[in-house]
């Protein structure tokens, strides 16, 4: 067995084990962290398949961004575990059905009919100067530009949906907002008015007293 194979089996083993732990572990935070481990080892497998860019983006986007959101949600919602488990028996058949359907779909797409060395061919190994990123980039922005722009539309919908779902602006009584632009734009004339006043001259008492004291 070559070293590469050893590393592959290590990553594959870790990712399968971590995925298994993720669905069996009881604590949701731990489950999320097992999922992180699954992603990281999956990125390792992708790197082994020489898809450098996708492997690193998997870490950047899924580990660095998506799972952080998951952790936020799972950690800070303090979910009641007992309540969550209540309907388990009731929903189990539906769940099993969905799982079967999904498994069937996956089988149809990447089953032995469409998968294997005779179908996909042996991956080509590249030298150290090979740039996987450039290879992906050129068709992405030219040939597949339409799909690429559609991705932007999806992201736009994502922004709008996220804001519509979560944003509730509190009234001015509950929260204080600060308008920094307004603060910066403030000029001295707006805040301060210089009033000309005639100087009020008090009869000079104190100095006279001092003089008298000094004379004594």
């Amino acid at each position: 067995m070559s070293f590469e194979q050893l590393v592959f089996y290590a990553f594959a083993g870790i990712s399968s084990l971590a995925a298994l732990m993720m669905i069996t572990v009881r604590n949701p935070v731990k489950a999320a962290l097992w999922l992180v481990l699954t992603f990281i080892s999956a990125a390792g497998v992708w790197l082994l398949a020489e898809s450098e860019f996708l492997g690193l983006v998997l870490i950047l986007v899924y580990v660095g961004a998506v799972m952080v959101l998951f952790l936020f949600v799972v950690m800070m919602l303090d979910i009641n575990l007992a309540e969550m488990k209540e309907g388990f028996a009731q929903y189990a058949p539906v769940g099993a059905l969905v799982a079967l359907v999904v498994f069937g779909l996956i089988y149809l797409v990447v089953g032995p009919e469409h998968f294997g060395l005779d179908k996909t061919g042996l991956p080509v190994t590249h030298g150290p100067d090979y740039s996987n990123t450039k290879e992906i980039a050129v068709p992405l922005y030219t040939q597949h530009a339409y799909a690429f722009v559609l991705a932007a539309v999806l992201l736009l919908v994502g922004i709008v949906a996220a804001i519509a779902l979560t944003l509730r602006r509190r009234g001015p009584r509950d929260a204080l907002y600060q308008d920094i632009d307004a603060q910066v734009r403030v000029r001295a004339e707006d805040r301060l008015t210089m009033v000309k006043m005639a100087p009020e001259v008090e009869p000079d008492v104190s100095s006279k007293n001092e003089e008298e004291e000094g004379a004594k």
Binding site: F3, N27, V29, K30, L33, V36, E52, F53, L56, V57, I59, L60, V63, G64, A65, V68, L71, F72, M75, M76, P128, D129, Y130, S131, N132, T133, Q178, I180
Partner: protein, 353 residues
């Protein structure tokens, strides 16, 4: 140097062992000095801030207090590692590892001088960005596992801050890539050869500022250290940690500071190129200085500015911090992406070949 070592080793042992031993030696050559720099960065921090505040700073342990960081390390080593009763012990112990492992793993792809790089990967910039995005887990997990209110609040603030500034950093990196046309860190430095006016600092000056300030925010350093904010939430996400568990967080934070300085120097300040290149007299006068020292000098200056910021600026308030990240830096970087796009299209300046 390492290639000859590997050749020599492979004459009398298995090839794979020779490769492994060579890599391990390279790793030690990078990580040990890094740890030493971290130790003396803490010393420098105390000394610099002390002098800025007209104090003496540490001056008891060894001459000028130079042995202070060693004494601190030894002391922390013999301190009890407290495991709070209400915490999730496993997650509590994993959190520091999650903080430091990426902070060390990033260094594999960093070049130190021409050809001095352990892993010369094509997607170097992406690797650094991806791996350093993992450090946020150390914060989130420690804050949650501690089961303490201060730690929880600190983790919440800190993680939201980190992810906000990561966007600005990412966009700033994109503009660098647009100018450099490559993601390989060595090639990015190569592209800045030929004198100070070829440095990416000049076409990307606003991005340099955005990147460095975002870096300060990413590492939770003053004036963006609301995650720690000792006057509000004691020490933030690592209140409950003591002894070596705390030291590991500390190491990770300082290693990330050094990393940010390195990345800034590599991408904007011409890496290991001398600033006097192409200037008649000065160039020959300083020709003997090896590239590594120029890079080290630039990094040292950037690290000094980290300390300078801390001594100068008062802490930001959270809403102001988020405003700076989302409403100033992100629009600025997006605009600059368009600007560089136009510059590239019309081939302006010596930076586009």
């Amino acid at each position: 140097m390492f290639e000859t070592l590997q050749h020599w080793l492979s004459t009398w042992m298995w090839d794979w062992l020779a490769v492994l031993i060579t890599i391990l030696i390279q790793a030690v050559v990078i990580i040990l000095p890094l740890m030493l720099v971290v130790a003396y960065l803490t010393y420098a921090e105390r000394k610099v801030i002390a002098y800025m505040q007209v104090r003496m700073g540490p001056n008891r342990v060894g001459p000028y207090g130079l042995l202070q960081p060693i004494a601190d390390a030894v002391k922390l080593l013999f301190k009890e590692v407290v495991l709070p009763s209400q915490s999730n012990i496993y997650l509590f112990l994993i959190a520091p590892v999650l903080a430091i492992a990426p902070a060390i793993a990033v260094w594999a792809a960093i070049p130190f001088a021409e050809g001095w790089v352990v892993a010369d990967i094509d997607a170097g910039v992406l690797y650094v960005l991806a791996i350093s995005s993992i450090t946020v887990y150390g914060v989130v997990v420690s804050g949650w596992a501690s089961n303490s209110k201060y730690a929880f609040l600190g983790a919440l603030r800190s993680s939201a801050q980190k992810i906000s500034y990561e966007i600005a950093m990412g966009f700033a990196l994109v503009t660098v890539l647009m100018v450099a046309d490559t993601m390989n860190l060595t090639q990015i430095v190569e592209g800045q050869k030929g004198g100070i006016w070829h440095w990416y600092l000049i076409p990307l000056l606003p991005m340099f500022v955005v990147y460095f300030i975002s870096g300060v925010a990413e590492t939770n350093r003053a004036p963006f250290d609301i995650a720690e904010g000792e006057s509000e939430i004691v020490a933030g996400f690592h209140v409950e940690y003591s002894g070596m568990a705390f030291a590991v967080f500390f190491l990770a934070e300082y290693a990330m500071m050094i990393l940010i300085s390195y990345m800034t120097a590599i991408m904007f300040l011409g890496g290991w190129w001398s600033p006097f290149e192409g200037i008649p007299v000065l160039e020959t006068l300083f020709a003997w200085v090896p590239g590594f020292w120029w890079l080290a000098l630039k990094v040292a200056f950037l690290l000094f500015t980290f300390l300078w910021f801390r001594a100068t600026f008062p802490r930001y308030r959270y809403d102001q911090l988020m405003r700076l990240g989302w409403k100033v830096f992100i629009p600025l970087t997006i605009v600059w992406v368009f600007v560089v796009m136009l510059l590239h299209y019309y081939k302006v300046g010596p930076w586009f070949n």
